[in-house]
């Protein structure tokens, strides 16, 4: 048997891809903060990224792979785990696990849907093709304008905030989980990592939602 087909192998892959996405999310979140520097900030940041050229595509390809592998492994783990208990208990109490741990597959699927939606929204501009035409004074793509306009409507803001809550749930379990899956915990660190993981998840939530909220309430304006 190949190691990656084993249960532990799948977990390693799950953890590594999860970790990669968490890191991406953090960087992305920090990147989003450039919006507070006004159009100049975020547009320059976006342009910088665009300037990477083939590098950007390489990165996107890697991210897409990570994303797909994570989904594939996540779904297959879920199906295998279902199959491991064909008949359910009439009564089952849990003591240690959490809501977020038990809903990983569902929060994951919602996140997947959100990310597709989100990329269609801001990267492909599928809903508002004219987003592509926004250009700022320096002839850069006007991401600032796009984002601010994107969050002007209540439904869109709600979708993003809801998605970020789902992300919180996914990461509240996920962050400490990849330490455990990669064998990086011990009796002394596990409780701290569990708490810390949840803390980081909350920070990520706040870091992301601050953008749509500030826009919605008009703190950031065109």
């Amino acid at each position: 048997m190949q190691w990656y087909k084993s249960s532990l192998g799948k977990k390693y892959i799950m953890a590594v891809t999860g970790l990669a996405m968490v890191l991406f999310a953090i960087v992305h979140m920090l990147g989003n903060f450039t919006i507070f520097a006004g159009p100049g900030g975020i547009n320059a940041y976006a342009a910088g990224l665009q300037g990477l050229g083939p590098g950007l595509w390489l990165f996107r390809l890697a991210l897409l792979t990570v994303f797909l592998v994570h989904i594939w492994m996540g779904v297959s783990l879920y199906l295998e785990n279902k199959a491991a208990r064909p008949s359910e208990y009439a009564m089952k109490q849990n003591h240690r696990t959490s809501f977020s741990a038990r809903t990983m597959i569902w929060t994951g699927v919602i996140l997947g849907a959100f990310i597709i939606f989100h990329v269609l929204h801001f990267t492909v501009h599928a809903f508002h093709p004219y987003y592509a035409t926004f250009v700022d004074a320096a002839q850069r793509h006007d991401v600032y304008r796009m984002v601010v306009m994107g969050f002007q409507g209540f439904p869109m803001t709600l979708i993003y905030i809801a998605a970020m809550v789902v992300l919180l749930l996914h990461l509240a379990h996920g962050i400490q989980s990849f330490f455990q899956s990669l064998g990086a915990t011990n009796d002394a660190t596990l409780p701290t990592l569990e708490k810390g993981g949840r803390g980081v998840a909350v920070v990520i939530l706040l870091g992301f939602v601050i953008v749509p909220i500030t826009i919605f309430f008009g703190v950031i304006r065109l």
């Binding site: 084993s6 532990l8 799948k10 208990r85 009564m91 696990t97 741990a101 064998g183």
Partner: protein, 256 residues
Amino acid sequence: MNLTLYVWRQKGPKEKGSLERYEAKHVSPDSSFLEMLDEVNEDLIKSGKDPIVFDHDCREGICGMCSQMINGIAHGPDTEITVCQLHMRKFKDGDSIYIEPWRAKAFPLISDLMVDRSAFDRIIESYGYTSAHTGGVPDGNAIPVSKVNADIAMDAAACIGCGACVAACPNASAMLFVSAKVSHLGVLPQGEVEAARRVKAMVSQMDAEGFGNCTNHYECEAACPKGIKVTFISRMNRELLKAIPQVEKKAAGGGF
């Protein structure tokens, strides 16, 4: 005290099972849970019915034979005990109690509350040992073992193979059991020699048995009567990571 029981009755693996209702009357709070079931069984026999089948032997919490899900909790509502150590004073007069067998694909049901846990044996057979030949071993003191490691090994070796971890795990995963043995032997100099082969073989056998995967719910730890910690799972994850690059022609009993 008087109790209402809902007990899973199923004649055999192919028959259909269901929860049956029984009344347990005049139960002494000092009796153990299994003694309460003994008395219910006496009544069943006297009324010409088949008594409830359940596994048990030592009745002192060490053989690992007893195995019941009581009100949805593996080994019932008390900490670090087995069903046979559970006493009726943990319940109140008039309580309803649900009693079900361990449920997992890898633990097929035999009858009523009795399941087949031979998958655990096959996992140990796959490499849950040191390959020491009888005789021809060095003096017990020839290789010192640090007290820290001896204690870790002992913590892990306390596992009684009861299967509560599997029963309690939302994924019916056997990670806690397997990691306990991997850790016990891996941490001792006597077992470390073959640690890489061992962890590969045991994990692949575990998978072949149809247990679920671990998604870190930690319910197993909460259910374990011997206080085996989930950090042993972490240790096993580490051991396998170390082992993967060690290419070998063929590990005993499968492996990778």
